[in-house]
């Protein structure tokens, strides 16, 4: 039985976070040659963009995988972009993206920002902006900003002083 890419993402997402061996073996047995190749570079890319602890990176990766299930355009952009990213990496350093060191990763991502290939620019914007969206909606990311949390129910109590002047 040929599993579709969509099903692969779903299975992998479940397997990755629930540690289900059965699901994992289902992937290696029946999936096509390139269907799980994107997870590794995606994880490495997001990890590099987010630059935080492993469990935070995993949460961001999970959100990205969930988004890929719901948003076809996002899914397509990511899959195509990650494959091109690997290609660029191999062309320059003879290694996959995941095998690059920090400096190399940084230089490669930076080259996407103003790349003459408009797709790569779009890929960079999409993956970076979405990663940031996912990261900064995690409460763990707020303390470093001096940000307390959602506007309500606390509000900003230091402003809520009673007026002393008469009306």
């Amino acid at each position: 039985m040929r599993i579709s890419r969509r099903q692969t993402i779903k299975l992998f997402a479940t397997a990755f976070f629930s540690g289900s061996l059965f699901a994992r073996s289902a992937i290696t047995h029946s999936a096509g040659p390139d269907s799980k190749e994107f997870i590794s570079p995606l994880s490495a890319l997001l990890g590099f963009l987010i630059d935080d602890e492993v469990n935070i990176q995993q949460q961001v990766l999970k959100k990205s995988l969930q988004k890929m299930q719901l948003d076809l355009v996002y899914e397509k952009t990511l899959l195509r972009g990650l494959s091109q990213l690997d290609q660029l990496s191999v062309n320059k350093w003879n290694k996959n993206f995941t095998a690059l060191n920090a400096e190399q990763k940084s230089s490669l991502i930076r080259s996407l920002q103003n790349h003459n290939n408009p797709f790569l620019q779009r890929f960079y914007n999409t993956v970076n902006q979405t990663a940031l969206e996912h990261y900064y909606s995690l409460p763990e990311s707020w303390m470093q900003l001096g940000y307390d949390g959602p506007p309500q129910p606390a509000g900003f109590a230091d402003y809520a002083r009673q007026h002393t002047k008469p009306a």
Partner: protein, 562 residues
């Protein structure tokens, strides 16, 4: 086939639309002892359930919208953008120009269909009209004169300010008042205090003062004082903001004389003999078509300056061949949209601009119609950090801080809370190419023609926008901002919340739709008490207070025998 309903309550007056005008109208009718039926097409939102300010991904959650199919608008083709005005294009320092086409584009008509209407998402500014801007035709040869004077309207403003619980300064550069406001002004936030920079001549020149707001500075009328969460536009879950449903409608319901039917969408009104509107046809919550025979009872339309003219134009028959109330041909004409410009910058200090009330200070310096050199029609300025949605981590990550990875993270720590944004809202004046009509082909799910917005910026409007942008930049640079990071406005986009003029008030039945008491010149039981009736839009004032003052005045002066 319309069914006649057995279970409708007995009523003496019907109000269509439960927004700023509708709720005030309902209250005033109940005060007169009349039984009121309010038909509102949208739902009744439950703040705790429907608004999202308590969620960790609150920034991704827009204001809810459960009636999308009932408020779709279409647009006529927009004008070409000119190279000489490229500096007015909407731009962000990370994302570049957002409108890369050569044409003005439609962005949105921000309209809330719900019990409470657009007051549910408004920034709660509570402004009177500037008396100097109410005679635009006699004084400046543009738009039309208000057939009601500021003096006549003043006592109604006082009443409305009391019911709403307006907070603000008692001395203002904007207008005079006969009575003090019911609540003191809110303390100015630290970020906004940077705008007031008293050491700078140009800042002092702006004569900043506290804004008048429909937000309580102390507990008022059963509502708590504001807790300064900086997010009026996403829906107030705290229960302090004076939305129309929490003020006027609540009091109307307490009289026992008012019934609100939400989810009830009016399809058309039927004009009949003897200059009476005979019938209202609507679809109720169970998708049943209900026909109400009015028998001379008054109907008040409050669907806003885009949907009110639509309803009238649709309601054509042999008695009203040009549309109900459209004998003058003016329904839909003189459409005035929101004209604004926002500029955002990064302040040198950590000012914590994500805290406090969104629009806590205001400059009325250029608000009078002749205040801007070379331009007719004024404007006003206020901080817009919150309204621009630059008040949370996500917006900083995507629009303020460039780059990626650990560099981005470090920059976020340094820059979060430093945005200072200021915006101008200016007078919009009518022109021949700007009007509301019905789309010739496209219809909604009920088979009724969709409304079409025709919008054109004339030279004067572009000059006003230009002035606003220039001034915004000047204000920011004079208040400690080091770098401009974003600008956007209505030069390259149609982007409106305040809309006016499409059923204008006037003394002459040939050139206006309603008289000075908001009553149709011809149709004896037809009243319009929303912003469609404004003959001119003012120098950027927010209209809700004026809408409500006009509404309660119209009801008070209503004489059904005449």
């Amino acid at each position: 086939m319309p069914d006649n309903i057995q279970s409708l309550p007995e009523f003496d007056a019907c109000v269509i639309g439960a927004g700023a005008g509708g709720c005030a109208t309902a209250w005033a009718l109940c005060k007169k002892g009349l039984r009121v039926l309010v038909l509102e097409t949208g739902p009744e939102y439950k703040p705790q359930k429907d608004f999202h300010l308590e969620k960790s991904d609150w920034e991704l959650q827009p204001f809810p919208d459960r009636t999308r199919s009932k408020h779709s608008v279409t647009y006529a083709e927009f004008q070409t953008l000119e190279n000489q005005f490229d500096h007015l294009r909407s731009w962000n320092h990370i994302n570049g120009y957002s409108n890369q086409s050569g044409q003005r584009q439609p962005f949105a008509y921000h309209h809330v269909q719900a019990v409470g209407g657009s007051t549910l998402h408004f920034t709660a500014e509570a402004h009177r009209m500037n008396p100097k801007s109410m005679n635009m035709f006699s004084d400046f040869g543009v738009a039309a004169d208000w057939p009601v004077s500021y003096k006549e309207l003043e006592p109604y403003y006082v009443q409305v300010e009391k019911i709403v619980g307006v907070s603000g300064p008692n001395k203002s550069h904007h207008c005079s008042r006969s009575q003090a406001l019911p609540l003191p002004a809110h303390k100015i936030s630290y970020a906004s205090s940077k705008l007031l920079n008293k050491k700078s001549d140009s800042q002092r020149d702006m004569k900043w003062e506290e804004n008048t707001l429909a937000i309580p500075s102390k507990p008022y009328d059963g509502r708590p004082a504001c807790n300064y969460c900086n997010n009026c536009n996403r829906g107030c879950t705290h229960g302090d903001k004076a939305t129309a449903d929490r003020t006027f409608l609540k009091k109307a319901l307490e009289t026992g004389l008012c019934v609100v039917k939400s989810g009830c969408h009016v399809l058309e009104l039927t004009a009949g003999k003897n200059d009476q509107v005979e019938n209202i046809l609507y679809i109720d919550n169970d998708k049943k078509r209900i026909s109400i025979a009015l028998h001379k009872r008054p109907v008040f339309i409050n669907a806003g300056a885009i949907f009110t003219p639509r309803l009238l134009l649709i309601s054509k028959n042999k008695y009203a061949p040009k549309g109900l109330g459209n004998e003058s041909g003016q329904v839909g004409k003189s459409f005035m949209e929101t004209l604004f410009y926002n500029v955002a910058g990064l302040h040198k200090d950590p000012i914590g601009s994500h805290r406090g009330i969104p629009s806590d200070v205001i400059s009325w310096k250029y608000n009078a119609p002749d205040a801007i050199p070379g331009v007719i029609g004024g404007c006003r300025f206020s901080p817009t950090t919150a309204e621009s949605e630059l008040n949370g981590p996500l917006s900083y990550a995507k629009r303020v801080v460039a780059g990626f990875g650990s560099e981005h993270k470090q920059a976020m720590k340094h820059q979060f809370g430093r945005v200072l944004a200021v915006g101008g809202i200016g007078e919009s004046l009518p022109n021949d190419k700007t009007f509301i009509d019905l789309h010739p082909d496209r219809t909604d799910k009920y088979g009724i023609p969709l409304v079409r917005i025709n919008s054109h910026l004339d030279t004067m409007a572009i000059k006003r926008i230009q002035f606003m942008r220039q001034q915004c930049e000047k204000i920011l640079l004079g208040s400690g901002v080091e770098k401009i990071i974003e600008q956007y406005g209505t030069y390259d986009y149609f982007n409106s919340t305040h809309v006016f003029g499409t059923c204008k008030m006037g003394a002459d039945a040939e050139t206006s739709v309603v008289n000075s008491q908001c009553r149709s010149h011809r149709w004896k039981n037809l009243f319009i008490t929303d912003s469609s009736v404004f003959p001119s839009s003012g120098g950027g004032e927010s209209p809700s207070l004026t809408i409500q003052a006009l509404a309660i005045r119209a009801v008070e002066l209503m004489d059904l025998e005449g």
